[in-house]
Symmetry: C2
Subunit: 528 residues, 2 copies
């Protein structure tokens, strides 16, 4: 059928009707104020939907020359969305619903939503408009400078912007979290309820155990990785991604995939969750483990209680918990030999080079421990050092006032201490990640906390479902996914990380299970 | 890098800044009213951008369960966009800019924009709100009923909806074009300046010549198409599409591709134009010619004067001219043997089956004339009958008041008369196209008018550039594309179809060149 723009209008009609029907269904049972909040959220969600879609489009599809117009649209609709999130109308609704009489009449979901929104509103509304705008401007400039600096491998281009960004971040936290210690306040959006005291404790535990473990591993005989070099067809890699997503339980009815440079997952609701991947002809393991990792994020979001969609109860906000799921699939399951048993032949059918690689050789390579420069390419053990290093530097920035000029030296010193290697340049050192350029201080610990939680989760899964090796070997991975759905995913954002761990594992955060898992696994693999 | 939703916020900042810079640049030179109109258009364009993107997403990517929320967003933003297009604010701006003093100070582009927008505004603003909404509702229901009817191959499910849609269409035209004959008014949005008197004349010319030509062709020896059956790898077909788009001059810097069920092209501006395709494992020619057809639409849009972007001067509105370009690439060029000479070996490298098919065999198959039921699958000659049949039926509906009950009989009668075949069921008969269900009466003639213009254009190209066979054989297709860019594409919507033909070909519309082209080509192919 049709061919050019005018056909857009066909669909206007179609969905317009659905929309009208939609509005009529649920309203009558609710309090008038709650009705108003629901309608307000519906409108906000539409803006959220389009900003998310514009972002998706920019990262997966839009051509370069289209960026300017696309960017203009993102700017406009994000600003509209932000304004709705701090409007007087919303303040009025939240205040009214927080009054005891209204509040007590709400069900649990709406109690949670009102409480959380009110807290965020009060926090954000304290930021003066000019400070918010200054932050946006500095962040924009910092990102552009970071891109340039990384391309030129020259930290000095980025440093003055990073300094401004650190300053404005401090200023903002002064408004949003005036009574909280600065760095703990920065951790809060990503790991609510977590603080640096706990993180210090578990990260120290890890350092103490992993430094000697890695030393032993590296002193052992290393696997031969020559069979993983060569040309691996990209179309076949796309098919492998499909195989893996099917296998771990990704729902195509509620999900889609795209191609991008740096893999990410995003979601519009539990019913539309999208993963992306990149494919390198000379490095097939990259797309394979990105597929499993992003698939883990996606399975989480696809299984949040759909009744929470469109509210702050849905879509899990806590990055450490989110990373615990993606990393559980990627590492605890995906780097287990038994994960591959039921599908290894299929992998060989799609990428014939794998027919020449035994499962044992494959298993050794996907758990090949190396001291390397780039966090996202690290194995699951040395990965811990990449995160600890960033965490320690962030604390020094925000607590000890270490200057931006000192950071590269600090970075290299810590790389030597933990990984015994020195980056050859800034691009493979301090400039490798975009988090700081984007103003995300306090995000990095989430990755490693995720793995620490995974150790704890693995213990609990085995107590409740039995031996994971056996489950995987018997092709019963769906039972593990179902367990995670029930224990974690369906709650969305309604439980903080600490509440989740307590409810699921019944204990406080500890790195001990992760350390035990690493020791057992790598002692076997490397015959230590 | 990052993984879940929060990263959206990175990009807000980035583009927000660009946006601010954007607004500051061009304003100072313009009249205050024109400034206001420009800003109004910028805002409208953002809504246009997101409705277009939401549509793109629905057709190329979104998972089934995401449709409802996506649909709700389309409904909301389309309605906002429509309301902006009929607002009192816009009326005021257009009226003020139409006053002689303001109008005469405008440059040619803005004169065109103000005039055209004023005309559309006056036309649309005459539709009472309740009639507009009724139309939307009926159209929605008709589309749903058509889908159901087509799946069940049962016209009776669709008939009552079609009747209502015809009635409300008549009602609307009573408001929008009160002084114009009904069916001519329906043709107007697609073929401005064209009327049924001219169409009657050229379609009759075609019928007179093509009926005996096709009879002669079908009485001749037909090519053997057995080598085109079998399994053709879909990934390889995607690569063939890329080869073809590169070859004809599609710009990847200003374009993207997607996969869908029914191929279409859409554009956000001249800088972001997207084509889609479908891939059938058992029918490789389908994706090949869809790629060239949609590529033709896209090359048009990519080469409109970028200064017209974001106004009614950009993006060509006239379907007959748009189809003339897509069909010029698909048929006049793409079904010419010489088009394939420079790339036929590459085709064989991507789809090895074509190594077993000589270029001569390929050429015969892509010009294989058959009487078939489905318009979109027809060869370039019998295609004419598919359009003429629909055009004649539309005239009978709107001029002679033929009832919806009579249409299937009428359809089948005309199929027998022109194509000597009778559809076995409604799905391969009157229900095959969605145009009527979408309320697009008067659209069909555009396709055939496009081919008629192509005959005229071919004459002019050969006068000005020389023999097209030779140009193609020498791999000089880019010279033809450049000529079309200069003569047609860059003007966007600023010239009506009649003005375009007069300026480019210097003559009135005539089917004679197309008939001459068909006779010469098929006399040779079929040794008539």
């Amino acid at each position: 059928m049709p061919d050019s723009v005018p056909f857009i209008c066909f669909y206007v009609g179609k969905v317009y009707n659905k929309y009208i029907i939609c509005l009529y269904t649920e309203v009558s049972k609710l309090s008038k104020t709650l009705e108003d909040l629901k309608q307000y959220l519906e409108k906000m969600n539409r803006y959220q939907h389009v900003t998310t879609l514009l972002y998706w489009d920019m990262r997966t599809c839009a051509p370069r020359q289209g960026y300017e117009q696309l960017g203009d649209a993102i700017a406009y609709f994000s600003t509209e969305q932000f304004q709705m999130s701090v409007s007087e109308e919303l303040r009025g609704l939240l205040e009214k619903l927080s009054e005891p009489q209204e509040y007590e009449a709400l069900d649990d979901k709406w109690k949670f939503v009102v409480k959380k929104m009110k807290r965020c509103f009060d926090r954000d509304a304290r930021i003066p408009k000019e400070v918010f705008e200054k932050h946006v401007r500095i962040q924009t400039e910092a990102e552009t400078a970071w891109e340039e600096a990384k391309a030129a491998s020259d930290y000095s281009i980025f440093a003055p912007h990073l300094e401004k960004l650190i300053d404005v971040t401090k200023e903002i936290v002064g408004y949003t979290n005036p009574e909280q210690e600065l760095y703990d306040a920065l951790l809060d959006p990503f790991e609510e309820g977590m603080n640096s005291e706990i993180i210090d404790r578990v990260f120290e535990e890890l350092k103490k155990e992993l430094i000697p473990l890695v030393d032993k591993i590296l002193a052992s005989e290393q696997p031969d990785d020559s069979k993983f070099q060569g040309y691996f067809d990209v179309d076949a890699q796309v098919k492998v991604q499909k195989l893996l997503l099917d296998y771990i339980g990704f729902s195509w009815d509620k999900g889609a995939v795209g191609t991008t440079t740096h893999p990410f997952t995003l979601n519009f609701s539990s019913k539309d969750v999208r993963v992306t991947n990149h494919y390198h002809e000379d490095a097939p393991l990259s797309a394979i483990f990105s597929a499993i990792h992003e698939g883990g994020h996606a399975i989480f979001e696809q299984n949040v209680n759909p009744d929470y969609d469109g509210t702050v109860a849905g879509s899990c906000d806590y990055m450490c918990i989110h990373e615990s799921q993606s990393r559980f699939y990627e590492n605890i399951l995906g780097r287990n030999k038994n994960f591959w048993l039921p599908i290894y032949d299929k992998l060989g059918e799609l990428l014939p080079q794998f027919k020449e690689i035994s499962l044992e050789e494959f298993y050794r390579e996907i758990n090949h421990v190396r001291n390397s420069f780039i966090r996202t390419e690290a194995d699951e053990v040395t990965y811990a050092f990449h995160v600890i290093l960033r965490y320690e530097i962030e604390k020094m920035i925000f607590r000890e006032g270490v200057s931006v000029e000192e950071l590269p030296t600090l970075w290299n010193k810590k790389m030597e201490e933990y990984l015994h290697i020195t980056p050859g340049n800034d691009a493979e050192g301090i400039l490798q990640d975009m988090h700081w350029a984007g103003g995300s201080f306090g995000y990095f610990p989430s990755y490693l906390l995720g793995s620490i939680y995974d150790g704890m989760l693995l213990d609990t899964v085995e107590e409740e479902l039995g031996d994971v090796d056996a489950l995987l070997a018997q092709g019963r991975i769906s039972e593990i996914t179902k367990w995670l759905n029930e224990k974690i995913h369906r709650f969305g954002s309604t439980r903080t990380p600490m509440e989740t761990l307590k409810a699921v594992c019944g204990r406080e955060v500890t790195a001990e299970p992760l350390v035990r898992y690493f020791k057992k696994k790598y002692t076997e693999i490397y015959s230590l």
